[in-house]
Symmetry: C2
Subunit: 176 residues, 2 copies
Amino acid sequence: MTLILGIDPGSRITGYGVVRDRGQGRGCEYVASGCIRTGSGELPERLQVVFRSVREVIRGHGPVTMGIERVFMARNADSALKLGQARGAAIVAAVEEGLEVAEYTATQVKQAVTGTGGASKEQVQLMVMHLLGLTQKPQIDASDALAIALCHAHTRSSLIPHGLGTARRRGGRLRL
Amino acid sequence: MTLILGIDPGSRITGYGVVRDRGQGRGCEYVASGCIRTGSGELPERLQVVFRSVREVIRGHGPVTMGIERVFMARNADSALKLGQARGAAIVAAVEEGLEVAEYTATQVKQAVTGTGGASKEQVQLMVMHLLGLTQKPQIDASDALAIALCHAHTRSSLIPHGLGTARRRGGRLRL
């Protein structure tokens, strides 16, 4: 029963999702999710909102590990810089609270959640709802963060031997 | 007598410089400077090094305000993302320690220190040495951070009326 945090950072909105990994391949259950909105203040204040909000989520729910999306291709240098700043604030909040942090590409997240790296955002959202038994659609940033948390849960559990076959452990889709 | 921190963030090396503004247009004196090297570890650990080192400098010297270089044009999206992450970690360290944070473009820093926005790095370094009465050349990242601190001191003081003429207050070079 491990609590896992997923973070989808952005310069304006940072999504977060917390899931509980039941362990032994029994899947995950939903704990919490939401969007951190940084508002329209100056950069230092906006980064402080990200830092403090991520810390608040960690202190409130007690996850021990965090997954965050790794970015390869930002649209341009300016958006990459802004995204990097939010990422930096979120990662520092996590490591300062003692969490291990793992990075996943968007393709890895889609692969883990839907079984295909080319899935659409809507497909990912529907699979997140399905895997966590949600009846309401989470906001897209929260849903993306939950997908990252599920990917992280899947990857972590595949590194801990518990009788699953090699084929299951290498990639493949999450099971309910 | 205000202590001012300057930060020149980078993905591998973050320069810092602390100066004491004597106030009333009497210039600044050198307090400390150096380079924070993040090493070759994983990203979360490297960002934690930036965060903790900046916090250590702040707690060790007690500056009340920080200047940091504003970046408009990064070489490419990947380097912008890395730079953004280091910036985010440094800014969060400062705001969490209660410092106000101001951003300056490279041109503003050069203008304040040398009198021309097109000055070379070497010219900036020589003027930093001159203005602070240094006999040894600081490392380039430390020197850039000191230049940012001097620019911040200059800009702050120009916003506080103390009998200087308008021409002096608007732009212009720092005086010894």
